[in-house]
């Protein structure tokens, strides 16, 4: 055990390991590329949907249960399916990661919107604001903390799952897990896993800090 940890430490700290197109630095960048692009794409799809459902109230059942569906979708299956349909390309990776992130963002966006006190909405209407103005000027700002939570949760999940890119021959930190598995090189597997965990935690803390920074001094909205 101690031997393994010692080897892991030397693997993580050797400069040779970090440099080059297959080095740790390159893999981290690839991993971030997949994760950030996928989360961004998911947000672009999910935010409007969540806002619409939250604003109109229609489709609430969908929003609440979509996260269950998204959680149940086996990523490996989806990656395989897209691979078989489209051949060797990066699509399987992005489709699965986006499919993972969209439900989380929709559900949390809806939750944020639904938590807005109806009296505030009424007051806004009473002041003369029309539907869309209520959405942008009242609901969205109030729902933002929960929306940010959704984006944060989605990002962490995507970062942790982007290892799947290596399953269909691409890079990222998953490369260490799959190659280490194939070569029975536990140090590589452990290294890859540790790096993914660290990356996910860093992403989580970074977005958490960002949220706190953006909403400093705000009264906490409904849970």
């Amino acid at each position: 055990m101690l031997e393994l940890l010692k080897n892991l430490l030397s693997w993580l700290t050797s400069p040779a390991q970090w440099s080059g197109p297959e080095g740790i630095a390159a893999r981290i960048l690839e991993h971030l590329e997949y994760s950030l692009l996928a989360t961004l794409a998911a947000a672009v799809i999910a935010l409007p949907v969540g806002l619409l459902i939250g604003h109109t109230g229609r489709g609430a059942f969908l929003a609440v249960n979509l996260s269950s569906f998204g959680r149940a979708l086996p990523t490996v299956g989806l990656v395989t399916l897209v691979f078989l349909a489209g051949g060797l390309s990066v699509w399987p990776v992005y489709v699965s990661l986006v499919a993972l992130a969209v439900p989380v963002i929709i559900t949390n966006t809806y939750a944020g919107m639904a938590a807005v006190d109806p009296e505030v909405k009424d007051a806004a209407k009473g002041v003369g604001l029309r539907g869309r103005q209520v959405l942008w000027q009242v609901e969205l700002p109030l729902a933002l903390p929960l929306i940010m939570t959704g984006v944060r949760l989605a990002t962490v999940q995507v970062v942790a799952t982007a290892t799947i890119a290596a399953y269909v021959s691409f890079g990222g930190l998953g490369r260490y897990v799959f190659d280490g598995l194939a070569q029975r090189d536990l140090v590589q597997v452990l290294g890859g896993a540790a790096l993914v965990a660290v990356l996910a935690v860093v992403a989580d803390l970074a977005l958490g800090g960002l949220t706190r920074l953006l909403f400093r001094g705000r009264p906490a909205t409904a849970r």
Partner: protein
């Protein structure tokens, strides 16, 4: 991508066997997770300094790629179903600890104090007052953990114990989408049925919660 529709009735036996196999890995993971999570959560809830450690450690555990976890367990538990179950338990554990702590947090301190004031010992208070009141949130956690467990089992196909996930590797190796579609559909169905079952169990076990619409909306949002 065309589907071979004749494949489905032809492989009904295999699909049933793989589904049973799938459950035999997913269910023990949730049960074990719950058994470990409950005491851990109580500790995190009661003992201030441990709370940060336990919740922090579980957050980190959650981010470890599941495949890596299985592979790292291989030398310890061998190429057996146990490896898959233990690996999955780590993930269900994280969800269940989080939700149980949250559930216990939601119990108003006054209720606990009232119970203690009546002379009830802490353990009895926990079992007869706090846990039942925390039950909705805990059950929400069990639901999430179950669905997640059912989905994650397929990752264990990489070490040969993926239940319905075996259909994915099979289809992948042979360039054959039909079993993959079957696997995805059945996994989703399984998760849906499990979720519905747990909702029913929760509803049956918490009669006092079949309350006003406001309470129900709150609980529904908690579960999402």
């Amino acid at each position: 991508m065309t589907l071979e529709w004749g494949w489905f009735p032809d492989h009904a036996d295999e699909m049933a066997r793989l589904t049973a196999d799938h459950l035999a890995t997913a269910v023990p993971a949730v049960v074990l997770g719950l058994l470990i999570a409950l005491p851990l959560a109580v500790l995190a809830h009661r003992v201030r300094p441990l709370r940060g450690v336990i919740l922090g450690a579980s957050n980190i555990l959650y981010t470890i790629p599941s495949l890596a976890f299985f592979v790292l367990l291989l030398p310890v538990t061998g190429l057996t179903r146990t490896t898959a179950i233990v690996g999955l338990t780590a993930y269900t554990l994280v969800v269940l600890v989080r939700n149980t702590v949250e559930g216990l947090d939601a119990v108003p301190a006054k209720v606990r104090e009232a119970s203690r004031a009546m002379g009830t010992r802490p353990l009895r208070t926990l079992l007869t007052v706090e846990l039942p009141l925390a039950l909705p949130v805990i059950m929400a956690g069990v639901r999430v953990a179950t669905v997640m467990s059912i989905s994650l089992v397929s990752v264990a196909s990489y070490i040969g114990y993926g239940g319905l996930g075996q259909l994915f590797t099979d289809g992948f190796q042979r360039n054959f989408p039909t079993p993959v579609v079957a696997g995805v559909a059945l996994t989703l169905l399984l998760a849906l049925v499990a979720d519905a079952l747990l909702v029913t169990v929760q509803w049956l076990c918490t009669p006092w919660r079949r309350g006003t619409s406001r309470q129900r909306t709150f609980m529904r949002r908690k579960a999402a």
